[in-house]
């Protein structure tokens, strides 16, 4: 007989081992999926996980691209993880990402074509503020009217996407764009550009910000009173209240940090890799970051690794699509499996499996 027994404390070993196990299980199940599609499963898995890093034909290009893709994921996931740890559910990072990009881009475009080194820093501040203020809507509604922050933050994503469309077609549209939607190219205007800092590394300010946020979150959680409050509120809400942690303040702080980081990610993306506010600007980083946060066990270092792994499945997934002719949907299913298996094997962290003999009655 197999029985699940709740552990007194979550297993440290399993909390590290489950993400690895989930990746391995995803590879196996994904391999079966690819085989059923008539593709060589070993070649497919190798193309996804190995080729972007080590294939001599691609690696020089795709390795830096990993950072470009992982940067926003990590930046957003770090902010989300703080909230998730405290039991504050910000599901709307995608909207905060979009609004941050819009506010930041609008700030820069208002000064076009001025030539100043102060414009980019100003845009960074505006981007962070934009994301923060957008996140304040669900936070304040929750604290003042006890609305559900999951629903409000999620639905505000759709509002943000409509706002994006209207801005790309209207106020922020490039007046010299021949009537086509989309803003001026911010990455080609020296004052607003967020270029590669060291050639050939993919490192732009957004990636730098992501690394800083990892360190910042680590220090915050380990050494700072706020970090303690966050952890306490998540693990023992009642105890937190007795310890003087204000739930209202915590909701506002968590939404504020995650909103600002998502807004920054949007700003760095729109001034760098994406280059412009366009109808397709929102590519789901805010949602994927939720997977990254959980895959990284809500731990800053874990999120760093999870972000890189997620980026690898994107870049490798693209390679597998056109090298092996795998359908795009199969790659998406493969990425989805990762979260599925993670949640499934997560049970091992909190429960242990007991093999018991059936006892004679």
């Amino acid at each position: 007989m197999v029985r699940l027994e709740k552990r007194a404390n979550p297993s440290r070993l399993w909390s590290v081992a489950t993400p690895v196990l989930a990746v391995v299980l995803t590879m196996i199940a994904g391999g079966i999926l690819f085989a059923m599609l008539g593709k060589d499963p070993v070649a497919a898995i190798r193309t996804i996980f190995w080729d972007p890093l080590f294939n001599p034909q691609f690696a020089a290009y795709s390795r830096p691209q990993l950072l470009v893709k992982a940067g926003p994921l990590i930046l957003i996931a770090i902010g989300l993880a703080l909230g998730f740890r405290a039991g504050v559910w910000n599901i709307g990072a995608e909207g905060q990402y979009v609004v941050g990009a819009l506010v930041g881009a609008a700030t820069g475009l208002a000064l076009y074509p001025m030539d100043s080194r102060l414009i980019f820093p100003l845009m960074v501040v505006a981007g962070g503020l934009g994301g923060l203020l957008w996140a304040m809507i669900p936070a304040l509604l929750r604290t003042m009217f006890r609305t559900n922050e999951i629903l409000v933050s999620l639905l505000l994503v759709y509002v943000a996407q409509s706002l994006l469309a209207s801005m790309a077609l209207g106020a922020l549209r490039n007046p010299q764009g021949g009537g086509f939607p989309g803003s001026r190219n911010l990455s080609q205007w020296a004052s607003s550009a967020n270029p590669e800092l060291v050639a050939g590394t993919g490192m732009h300010w957004g990636v730098v910000a992501a690394f800083i946020s990892v360190i910042g979150a680590y220090v915050l959680l380990q050494r700072h009173m706020l970090g303690f409050s966050i952890r306490l509120a998540g693990q023992a809400p009642r105890a937190a209240r007795f310890a003087g942690v204000s739930p209202t303040r915590l909701v506002i702080v968590c939404f504020g940090i995650s909103g600002a980081l998502a807004g920054l990610a949007g700003l760095f993306e729109v001034t760098g890799p994406a280059g412009q506010i366009s109808l397709d600007f929102a590519q789901g980083y805010g949602f994927t970051a939720i997977i990254v946060a959980f895959l990284g066990r809500l731990n800053p270092v874990g999120i760093l690794l999870a972000g890189l792994l997620m980026a690898l499945t994107y870049i490798g997934g693209e390679l597998a699509q056109f090298m092996l002719g795998l359908p795009a949907a199969a790659i998406q299913a493969f990425q989805g499996m990762l979260l599925f298996f993670l949640l499934a094997v997560d049970i091992l962290t909190n429960y242990r499996i007991r093999w018991t003999k059936r006892e004679a009655a």
Partner: protein, 361 residues
């Protein structure tokens, strides 16, 4: 990416084909990047049909097995195009308007790879060509059917994005309908997507609830036809592809994009060494735009009229935009007997007189 390394890699990869360009090539690797899934039943499906026709035409001399579907317009498309160039593609067909910046950026880095951009207008470097089809000619035919078939005198148009290609289609369809039915009015709904079955179905439903009984679409899925099928007496048209599964009604005719001749011509030119940069814009006469079978739901006189319009356009006797025509605000656009030139058409950003509503700004 270190520009020099990239160029060196590219040069090394391309050295052989580059040297033999003038005399043609023994084997061409043609690659395709699609904005939707190959199974969308419309736009991307037709491009993929063209790819398959290309493969069938040249057999072993052309490797046309490499394609990637559902690539978002923006930063991701630039990465996919770069990886395709690195993987040894000789010619890359980028089949969506929004790839324009990405195509021109990547083309500048890979001078020996040919890039063909569908529906674009920028050819920044010598290795970028553009190709498009005069879809508005087809709209004049379906608009004629719409004007004669509508019982409520209300026809609807589902636009994808308010860019000139859509505006041309809206104006052409409206003018053709108005010519055969002076009482006709047209409602326009924007989906802000090329392919989004849910949004397209919503748009069709909204139109039908307003009393529209003929739905024209500029989006790529069959969802609007599926929606039309739910209401007795509502008809629509296949878009980009024949969408024959909705015959004989609600699909009463269709505008089919036929890319195969162009793909065969261009790759053939690359094989025999006659390839040159160019901008192609062919229509019904060139076979790029076809009118699918007009079903028996359409009365014989309507069918005859539609075919007359089609044949007159093919013969060059009729231009869908022939003066006297006024813009929506009443100012003159074309004088008696005048027709617009291609630059005028390509930048069209106004409705003609009689259409109500505003182009989203």
């Amino acid at each position: 990416m270190k520009r020099r390394v990239l160029l060196a890699t590219a040069a090394a990869l391309m050295a052989l084909p580059a040297a033999s360009f003038a005399q043609g090539m023994d084997k061409v690797k043609a690659c395709f990047i699609y904005v939707g899934p190959v199974g969308d039943g419309g736009w991307t499906y037709q491009h993929d049909q063209g790819r398959q026709a290309l493969a069938a035409e040249f057999g072993d001399r052309v490797d046309a097995t490499t394609y990637q579907e559902s690539v978002p317009e923006g930063a991701d498309s630039e990465r996919v195009l770069t990886q395709m160039a690195l993987s040894g593609c000789n010619i890359v067909f980028a089949t969506s308007f929004g790839y324009m910046d990405a195509v021109n950026n990547v083309a500048a880095k890979f001078p020996n790879v040919k890039f063909e951009h569908a529906t674009g207008y920028r050819r920044d470097s010598a290795n970028v060509s553009t190709y498009d089809a005069r879809f508005y000619e087809g709209r004049a035919v379906t608009g004629t059917i719409a004007g004669m078939m509508t019982q409520s005198d209300k026809i609807g148009y589902i636009g994808s994005f308010p860019i000139p290609e859509n505006i041309q289609g809206i104006n052409a369809a409206y003018l053709a309908a108005k010519k055969v039915n002076p009482d006709v009015t047209m409602s326009i709904v924007w989906a802000y997507s090329w392919f989004d079955p849910a949004k397209e179905a919503d748009a069709a439903r909204a139109l039908i609830e307003q009393g529209v009984d003929v739905v024209l679409q500029h989006t790529d899925s069959t969802a609007p036809l599926a929606e039309a099928a739910k209401t007795e007496g509502v008809i629509g048209f296949g878009q980009a592809s024949d969408m024959a599964e909705f015959k004989p009604s609600p699909r009463v005719a269709s505008i089919i994009d036929n890319w195969a001749p162009y793909y065969i011509e261009r790759v053939g030119a690359l094989l025999d060494g006659t390839y040159e940069q160019k901008a192609t814009w062919a229509g019904i006469a060139g076979g790029e735009v076809e009118i699918g079978e007009i079903t028996d739901v359409v009365p014989a006189d309507v069918k005859a009229k539609a075919e007359e319009v089609r044949d007159a356009i093919a013969a060059g006797e009729l231009h869908p935009f022939t003066g006297p025509l006024n813009k929506q605000d009443g100012t003159e656009w074309l004088a008696e007997g005048e027709t617009p030139d291609d630059a005028d058409l390509a930048g069209m950003n106004f409705y003609v007189e009689g259409i109500t509503g505003q182009i989203p700004q």
